[in-house]
């Protein structure tokens, strides 16, 4: 008697078993790899209205972060400097440079420079710069080597999992209060132990993990 199904159909379960499991693995891996903020957010490098180089200002000339971002130790956010701050030097240095035209126009017309924000959190979560600095987390821990960037890009995913990694185990990222804005200082290489630092001795070195700590 002629069989209803040809012989090769005997292998369908085998092929289907391998194929479906491969497909599942591919889907899971794909979502794990591509749907993470490590892929979707890291590396964001928008074109800014002025080609301001942190590599030149903070790197080569060694200007402190808070020369421009003044008030970051006291406020929740790190302010973008006013055009006044830039013009403090650039009313003499490179004062006719065409690359600074946007700055001069902004200064004269009292209009804001349309900087593009690089690091921004969803509005349902709150981040306080001053609290992190007081606790001993330096700029470089989240923003990376800004002093090497010509154009600022995101190096951290700013995801909730990434926040919690440090909130659960903050000790490796704590540095002395004097080295907060130091881009080169490595607390691990220096053998720094926060628990022996008089600044942190009586404090609980533990980030809050309650929902309400950030989502309020």
């Amino acid at each position: 008697m002629e069989p209803i199904f040809p012989k090769w159909t005997n292998r369908i379960p085998l092929y289907a078993g391998i194929g479906v499991s491969l497909l599942l693995i591919a889907i899971v891996t794909g979502i794990w790899y591509y749907f993470s903020p490590k892929f979707l957010a890291v590396g964001y490098e928008p074109v800014q209205p002025i080609a301001f180089s942190h590599q030149l200002h903070a790197g080569q000339m060694g200007m402190d972060c808070s020369y421009c971002h003044a008030g970051v130790e006291k406020g929740s956010f790190s302010p973008i400097p006013a055009a006044d701050t830039c013009m403090g030097c650039h009313n003499k240095v490179k004062k006719d440079s065409p690359r600074l035209k946007v700055l001069r126009d902004s200064f004269e017309n009292k209009t804001p420079i349309p900087w593009v924000r690089v690091h921004s959190l969803p509005r349902y979560s709150h981040f306080d710069h001053s609290a992190h600095l007081t606790a001993g987390v330096g700029c470089v821990s989240c923003h990376g080597r800004i002093d090497k960037m010509n154009t600022v890009s995101m190096v951290s995913p700013l995801s909730m999992g990434w926040c919690l990694d440090c909130h659960r185990n903050p000790l490796p990222n704590i540095r002395p209060q004097s080295e907060l804005k130091n881009m080169i200082y490595d607390p691990h290489a220096e053998g720094y132990i926060p628990l022996n630092d008089p600044d942190y001795k009586d404090k609980l070195i533990q980030g809050p993990q309650a929902c309400g700590a950030c989502h309020y």
């Binding site: 490590k38 890291v42 590396g43 074109v47 000339m61 200007m63 003499k92 804001p112």
Partner: protein
């Protein structure tokens, strides 16, 4: 055999398509001008305005509104000319009489804070020791000429004038003012640190308190 060959073709094309799409999508950390994608959009954007955010309602687009004319500052009125302007109360606009003594009580901690603020705001031009050899000065190559704080004229400056320089700037913004970056206490702390820096090259044994001299066995006769 024909069937196997056909499968090979299919297999290789699937592999090829996968690799092609992977290279087109890119890897983690690749630089991109496109803003981060947030797959879940619930309440990511809200109608309230954050710090330094945009508000298209106003012509200049700022959600922060500049102070309108006649705005009165909250808190106590700043009438103490000595503290807030570094001038004696009887000085006038054209004839400023600078205070000679810092009108605040400063501890060693304040001077350390002054040092921290000096390092941030002054060293780029004036240099760590005040010799006007900061990295910005060196790079600008003569376009800016910050004063050397160890000059004879700078040594003779009353503290009120130094305070005024930090607060309002000098010579038509040749040195910018730091009124918005530094609080009143911070500015006086910087003044104290500048004085301390000047002392590092002018101090004599007479400046050292007697008990410290006795402790180290220093005497005036050396």
């Amino acid at each position: 055999m024909v069937q196997i060959k056909c499968n090979n073709k299919l297999f290789s094309s699937i592999i090829g398509a996968t690799f092609l799409s992977l290279t087109l999508i890119g890897c983690r950390g690749q630089k991109s001008e496109n803003p981060p994608i947030l797959p879940i959009q619930n309440m990511v954007e809200q109608t309230s305005f954050g710090p330094q955010s945009k508000n298209e309602f106003y012509k200049d687009g700022r959600a922060y509104r500049p102070q309108i004319l006649g705005t009165v500052e909250f808190d106590k009125p700043k009438t103490d000319k000595r503290l807030y302007e570094g001038k004696e109360p009887d000085s006038t606009e054209h004839d400023p009489k600078w205070v000679k003594k810092i009108p605040l009580k400063l501890s060693e901690k304040d001077i350390q804070r002054g040092q921290a603020k000096y390092v941030v705001f002054c060293t780029p031009c004036h240099g760590y020791a005040g010799d006007s050899d900061g990295l910005v000065t060196q790079r600008a190559g003569g376009v800016i000429r910050p004063s050397n704080i160890h000059d004879k004229e700078r040594l003779a400056l009353p503290v009120g004038k130094i305070y005024d320089a930090i607060h309002n700037g000098v010579n038509n913004w040749n040195m910018p003012g730091f009124a918005s970056q530094l609080s009143v206490e911070d500015k006086w702390a910087v003044v104290a640190y500048v004085r301390a820096l000047q002392l590092t090259r002018r101090a004599t044994l007479e400046n050292i308190p007697a008990d410290i001299k006795a402790k180290h066995g220093w005497s005036n006769k050396q």
